[in-house]
């Protein structure tokens, strides 16, 4: 910084030639040419080496990191909460739907009767076909083991006759 005492100011105002040497030491590139070093002697320009960004200390960085992590955790917690809420909602809907279905099944008797009738008819068809297979079906294995060949002849005659009559 320049010396701003009263004698020094007086010296700089009225004896400019002597002061030129001091002004040239300034980092101001316009000091000699434009202002001739008379007025602006102080270094008003920012140094090129001066850092514009503040340097964060370790503690600051750590606190920022912790803040960001805690923020993520909070968001994550929110996501979890929303998922849990969603699941709970689905569950409630399913339970409500089931209760509704039960209510319909109990209250809507015609449908219930029709369903029962359909179920019984399906069951009847299934049981009939299975019983037919079990009772009247002739397996090759049983014929291969037959010892009564008269019965075997009769069996073939009857079935061939049915086929030929068809």
């Amino acid at each position: 910084m320049a010396n701003l005492s009263i004698p020094a100011i007086r010296e700089r105002l009225f004896n400019t030639s002597r002061h030129e040497q001091t002004t040239q030491r300034s980092t101001n590139p316009f000091a000699a040419s434009t202002f001739k070093g008379n007025v602006l002697t102080a270094d008003v320009f920012e140094s090129s080496t001066k850092q514009s960004q503040p340097i964060f200390t370790g503690k600051l960085k750590a606190s920022a990191l912790v803040g960001s992590i805690s923020g993520i955790g909070e968001r994550f917690q929110n996501i979890i909460n929303s998922v849990v809420q969603f699941g709970t909602k689905i569950k409630e809907n399913v339970v409500n739907g089931w209760n509704k279905l039960e209510g319909i099944e109990i209250s809507f008797n015609p449908l219930k009767e029709r369903m029962t009738s359909a179920y019984n008819s399906v069951k009847e068809v299934m049981s009939t076909s299975i019983s037919d297979l079990m009772t009247t079906g002739i397996s090759a294995k049983s014929v291969a083991k037959m010892e009564d060949m008269t019965a075997a002849r009769k069996l073939l005659e009857d079935n061939v006759a049915i086929w030929e009559a068809a």
Binding site: T136, I138, S139, K141, A144, R153, N159, V160, W163
Partner: protein, 123 residues
């Protein structure tokens, strides 16, 4: 139109008689199966008799006019020949075919037996 159950029953009976150890099963198949008016029954019976691969059963489908390889139906005859060609052991079939070619009274049966014998020799 014959129902599926009847078809299944006849098929199973013929198949069962084809593997029944009783010799009478061959005569049952010959009397009822090969004399049926239904081509499918005759075809099934002929195949069952060939699969049995016995002298009596093979004689039925080789030496009888109108049965087996001599059947009026081409499908039945060709199916019987195909079954003969599929036999693992053709010894008995070849022997019956040779005897038929040499000694059978009917010329058509002899010609058929000669043709089938030639096919079996090539297979």
């Amino acid at each position: 139109m014959v129902d599926k159950r009847t078809v299944k029953n006849v098929t199973n009976i013929i198949e069962g008689l084809g593997v029944n150890p009783s010799s009478e099963s061959v005569s049952i198949l010959e009397d009822i199966g090969t004399n049926s008016k239904v081509d499918a029954i005759r075809e099934m019976t002929s195949r069952a008799l060939v699969k049995r691969n016995e002298h009596d059963s093979l004689s039925v489908v080789i030496t009888n006019k109108g049965k087996g390889i001599n059947d009026m139906s081409t499908v039945v005859a060709m199916s019987t020949i195909n079954e003969l060609l599929s036999l693992q052991d053709k010894t008995e079939a070849m022997k019956i075919l040779e005897d038929t070619v040499e000694m059978h009274s009917d010329e058509e049966v002899r010609d058929n037996a000669r043709s089938v014998k030639a096919l079996m020799a090539l297979s």
